[in-house]
Amino acid sequence: MTKIVGIDLGTTNSAIAVMEGGESKMIPSSEGRNIVPSVVDPIKRVVGDVAKRQQVLKPEQIIFSIKRLMGRRFDDKSVQKDKEWLPYKVIKGKNNLAVVEVEGKEYAPQEISAMILSKLKKDAENYLGEKVEEAVITVPAYFDDSQRQATKEAGEIAGLKVKRILNEPTAAALAYGLDKKHSHTVAVYDLGGGTFDITILELDEGVYEVKATNGDTHLGGDDFDQKIINFLADSFKKEHNIDLKKDKQALQRLREAAEKAKIELSTSSDAEINLPFITQGADGPLHLVTKLTRAKLEDLVSDLVLKSFEPVKECLKDSGKEKSKIDEIILVGGMTRMPKIQEEVGKFFGKEPHKGINPDEVVAAGAAIQAGILMGDVKDVLLLDVTPLTLGLETLGGVKTPLIERNTTIPTSKSQVFSTAADNQTQVEIHVLQGERPRAVDNKSLGRFVLDGIPPSPRGVPQVEVEFDLDADGILKVKAKDKATGKEQSIQIKGATGLSEEEVEKMKKEAEEHAEEDKKEQETIEIKNQAETVIYTAEKTLRESKDKIKKEDKKEIEDKIKELKEILEKGEKDEITTKIEELSQSLSKVGEVLNKEQQEKEETKENNELDKEEPAKADPNKVDGDVEEGEVVED
């Protein structure tokens, strides 16, 4: 079965997305962008940026805003109005429908839209590496039957079976996952490049119903840009008496600068516009250098923002809902990135609007989710849960070593090799922990068990493989296996993810609050572990080489061990570090002497037994598995 894609066929821009692993993913165009301008050269069948670049040259041939004509009759009031300003020819076609004429050839809006859809389809096929034959396409909530039918036909002309025509506001609500909530009412505020839509939806038994919709077909981001351009050009004219808008090249620079400033002002409070040598004045070159503050921008566009609330009020009235009865508000369209708009919408409804999903992509994402539901993908895959807290075990010094990190998608399994902490240790205790704190005792204990029967050997030699297996139901199986003997022991813990939301939050919060002291604590533990290792090595050296070490050296090391042991009890980190260093120094002094002797010995040995060395190197067991530094604690 091939994938069903979700398509946002927009007035200004279009986008396509697909479900993947239970989440929507935007498909980049062949130009490497997530959106494609809805601009078409029907003669050469060129779509997107490449068509847009010729707009100035062939205004009668390059078709944009075709969505405004979709499925409309020629004598429709809006068509008559749009006909006035659209630079290409709009004429009466078959069944009195509006069609465009380019170089004497008629094109139905469906055909033009189909070219956009074909490009999206082709880009998707290249990206996914498979055929794309089915799609969910979105339309504005106000589209009537014939406009929806036309959109469906456009899909079919492009070789796409349209599985569903979806309302744009509904798609946005799906993208935010609101359909999983109980019955509620949503307002979708959609301010795009050239159009504004407001829709009130009601979710009832899992189905969205459009309660009312309204808008302004000629209000969008382009108007905002124009305000900035006008402001810049006017101030320049006042100062230098030159109209930059008459110079196409300068106007292009202004347009770029205006858009850049607008975007910058969404995140910072002022933006500098710096266009050196913008034009030639009577006394030499002129530069445009000015600052635009966010406050000034908000002032410039305040009437546009205000204008959008007229339809909002109308829409509310038509829906028969009070403002206070709106449970959720969603922002769609690039212009809603503007802080002022977010603020005003929030103020109007008395509620924070949803944001977070890219407002240019949210409709396509929602369409993909609908496509996923049709494929049977979402329902099942989305059930895949994540583990809310880290699962791990206690290792030497009371440290928690994580095996399955939090937010890992389950089912999952992880394994790691541990070793013993003392010589001749014959058993290890596996203490299973849940939580984010570095110290074992600060985490929740899920259970413990002992693996015994480990053959006596020096510390660090036995290899104990511990495997955590967390299944989709949150059941955790922990297995410990001694690699040498194959002996194993396991435990099963039910509800390893089954913490209440409050518990999870509490544990996360605790972890954050204690992060600083936890870090110190952990450092101390690490230092202590280090101290113990050094003491162990020192004692071992003394024991094994007692005949070879000089008396005074032996005394020195013994004293140092004693000092370190004493200081270890009190637990001052810096002092321990100093003592460790002292002991290490004494030890390396002795070590040098011992090494020299050893080397001399080995040289003679090597000469005699060169062949015997080989097989030892090839021991496969030794290579296998990394032995972790923090060893499993002794029982």
Binding site: G21, G32, Y127, L128, Q249, P276, F277, V381
Partner: protein, 153 residues
């Protein structure tokens, strides 16, 4: 409310079979998704490495434009010319190439954007570039920024 439906053995087997089929299908799809994703992640990684600097380089291009305009407007330009050369050399070392065109080249929307059209006088061909207003650049195989041109119409 909920009625208990009794299934006979045969129905139960069918139910289980269906569930197994569904589960198998889902698993296959998940595995396929994963494989495809793996392949694509490799491709995307390569692309990312290849074009990682796109945004930064594009952001620097207006500085170059300003240098060019300075040369057009100033009288003594030898110093600025050298700076421009330095700029272009650095760009080309990074794999950025200027889209080569001049007045008289054929208009190509793949690499050019028409900003303005002017009436072709006699002897001038329609659809050819009258003037290059701003240079365009390619970064490896991608158009970083199309050249802005004025075209005879």
């Amino acid at each position: 409310m909920v009625k208990k439906i009794k299934y006979n053995k045969e129905d139960q087997v069918k139910l289980v079979e269906n569930r197994v089929k569904l589960a198998e299908d889902q698993m296959k799809r998940a595995v396929a998704d994963y494989r495809n994703l793996q392949a694509r992640v490799i491709r995307e990684k390569e692309d990312f490495a290849k074009y990682a600097n796109s945004k930064l380089i594009t952001a620097f291009l207006p500085v170059r434009d300003a240098l060019v305009r300075a040369i057009d407007h100033l009288e003594e330009t030898s110093g600025v010319q050298l700076i421009l050369k330095q700029f272009d050399d650095t760009l080309s070392q990074e794999g950025v190439s200027k889209i080569e065109l001049e007045a008289g080249s054929k208009f190509d929307p793949e690499v050019m954007e028409a900003i303005d059209g002017i009436k072709a006088e006699s002897g001038k061909k329609i659809g050819v570039v009258a003037e290059v207003l701003r240079a365009g650049f390619k970064y490896k195989e991608r158009v970083l920024r199309p050249a802005e041109v004025r075209v005879y119409t």
